[in-house]
Subunit: 337 residues, 2 copies
DNA sequence: TTTATTTACGAAAGCGGTTTCGTAATAACC
DNA sequence: GGTTATTACGAAACCGCTTTCGTAAATAAA
């Protein structure tokens, strides 16, 4: 309970507060002997500088904020690992904030960041995010921000994404080549560029293969597993039931398996399935799931690296830049051979 | 870039700094009209109090630290959701720290917490943690700490766990009833009480069913997927190959499936499998995985609630208490009918 | 030896808030 | 009408550390 402060240390050592502070921060102004004395005593008394005081003094808290929609998702969990790896190495701390796909929450979180609580931000927006003033406001205060995965193109900063359009195009084309006539796309947002890119890849692939689209082709999933499940079951029960499904989010893949099981639809005989997914279990599923998987760790790592670089500069602004890391397509048994 | 401070606000309003501060904090000393004026101006100028300054003043930063071994794990990811739910409601922020199962990292993290960076801590120790001075030191500084899942019994505080012994006992008994003669237990630590509880449940069940144990019964997995995979494959290739496996950690389940696939061992015909797992995909695996699943969200929620309660008190110490939330056993096709 | 540098340290002013305490002005009391 | 409570606000200390700036002593240069 005995919090010991720098002034107590100073008194004990019969030195001034400033000398002790400098010694601890290894300033060149302090002689080696004094540093030794100070550090020895600091160890002895188990002195740890107060974080708020030092942050207030220096103006930065060596902390970055990571704002994501969800953590129970392999992509984001793995991305966190990538972020954390570089942050720790640079002596930064990581605060994780979950929006649970709520725009309101996202606004509140970024607003709070204006307090200076974090030095920089890594953001993957919610599925509802369409306004951007909360982001712009934060950046105006000089807080550097880097987008990853779910980006807002209109905002002038660095964005780390993967080749969403191409992968959706490739996956869709693959389904068509394997005989699908009616493919269903499971979308998680009709606002986000990432979602639209995947959707466009999906549409263009069909156009290019001479398949005409109709509005039955796309199902917009809510953020509610039960409702989504019903939605999909209803669709699969209708006469124009799909013979192929492309899921744009990992957890949708499970919903598909669940619905197919309930309806006794066989995968891939009745319905072929491809999902965007970073799940370790994909290859052990029944049947093994054909996936598009994103370079999650790398994306997190890259985003964090760029942010760190910005934080190292006097003017911490980030560049306008688009970094695209390729995803991989893994064919398994949920599509035909 | 224009950070506006309370003194700028005060000047603008021709009020004293203290009045403005009190108005913003809704002190009873300030008249309603003045509060209105202040808040209006604050909105207008987009004033946000500096987090470090106010934390330094009040002595708390409305932040809790969550220290876990890993985030790419359904249990921990779900627990975070539970923690976050109650923290946000109480106006607290959550910092997540990953030890990656390293005791050294854990020590560094807790040491850093002595800086006052967090008001309270939720901890699930690394698989290597055997010493406890880093924890005791932190608590001595008056930082309340609550354990969840991976606890240290010797430390006097609240611990949230699940009924590990009973579930392991139940799962093992189940395997025996289904005909297993040689069951293998995949352990992740031989230091942690949680791991030992599961191991003891495993052993006692066998004793009670009249099965004699030998030291081939337990495999201690490292934190390295490839090595673990090899280790298991070697075991399954030996003459005293197991006909049943109980995995004490979610990700080990995947390793089992992988090894069995490589060795062309059929589940459950050749080897029956049960895993501790909170994975959504368990029921869609091939075959669907029989699991023991922990009440992750509830455990996180409970731990956070207790911590919040302690933070609300003048003396923030937590009680010595053991809260045990029951897990559930879900029989699926990786065990015989 | 004198002057110019360098070295090692301390005093004090922030950083941006919170909080204690004092005090006019107004309201309530007998 | 004089005294006591309230109310509403300001001055200033303080939280614990950083940083600027000044200076005495030690060293180097002239």
């Amino acid at each position: 309970m005995n919090k010991i402060t720098i002034s107590m240390l100073a008194k004990e050592l019969r030195l001034s507060i400033s000398t002790v502070s400098k010694a601890i921060n290894d300033s060149h102004e302090i002689s080696p002997q004094t540093k030794l004395r100070v550090n020895k005593m600091a160890k002895e008394l188990n002195y740890v500088p107060n974080h708020f005081a030092s942050s207030l003094g220096t103006g930065n808290g060596k902390t970055i904020g990571v704002v994501i929609p969800e953590v129970v998702d392999s992509f984001f969990a793995q991305a966190i690992n990538g972020i954390e790896a570089v942050a720790v190495e640079k002596g930064y701390h990581v605060m994780i904030y979950l929006t649970h796909e709520s725009f309101e929450k996202e606004k509140m979180i970024l607003k709070d960041f204006e307090s200076g609580r974090v030095d920089g931000v890594l953001l993957s927006v919610s599925r509802e995010t369409i306004q951007t003033t909360h982001i712009v406001d934060l950046m105006k205060k000089g807080v550097p921000l880097v987008f990853f995965d779910r980006v807002i193109n209109e905002i002038f900063t660095t964005k780390i994404t993967t080749n969403d359009y191409e992968m959706a195009y490739q996956a869709t084309t693959y389904l068509i080549k394997k005989g699908c006539k009616k493919i269903l796309f499971l979308s998680f947002s009709n606002l986000l560029s990432i979602s639209n890119k995947r959707l466009n890849g999906f549409k263009d692939a069909q156009k290019d293969q001479g398949i005409k689209l109709n509005n039955q082709n796309v199902l917009l999933f809510k953020n509610d597993p039960k409702k989504d499940y019903q939605l999909l079951k209803n669709h699969l029960n209708s006469r124009n039931q799909a013979d192929g499904i492309l899921a744009s989010v990992e957890k949708f893949g499970f919903t598909i398996y669940q619905a197919c099981e309930a309806l006794r639809l066989r995968i891939p005989e009745d319905v072929q399935v491809i999902s965007f997914s970073n799940h370790d279990a994909a290859s052990f599923m029944n049947p093994p799931l054909t996936t598009v998987s994103q370079p999650a760790f790398e994306m997190g790592k890259t985003a964090a690296t760029i942010l760190m670089k910005a934080l190292g500069r006097k003017n911490a602004a980030t560049d306008e830049d688009n970094i695209i890391l390729p995803s991989t397509f893994a064919v398994r048994k949920s599509t035909r051979v």
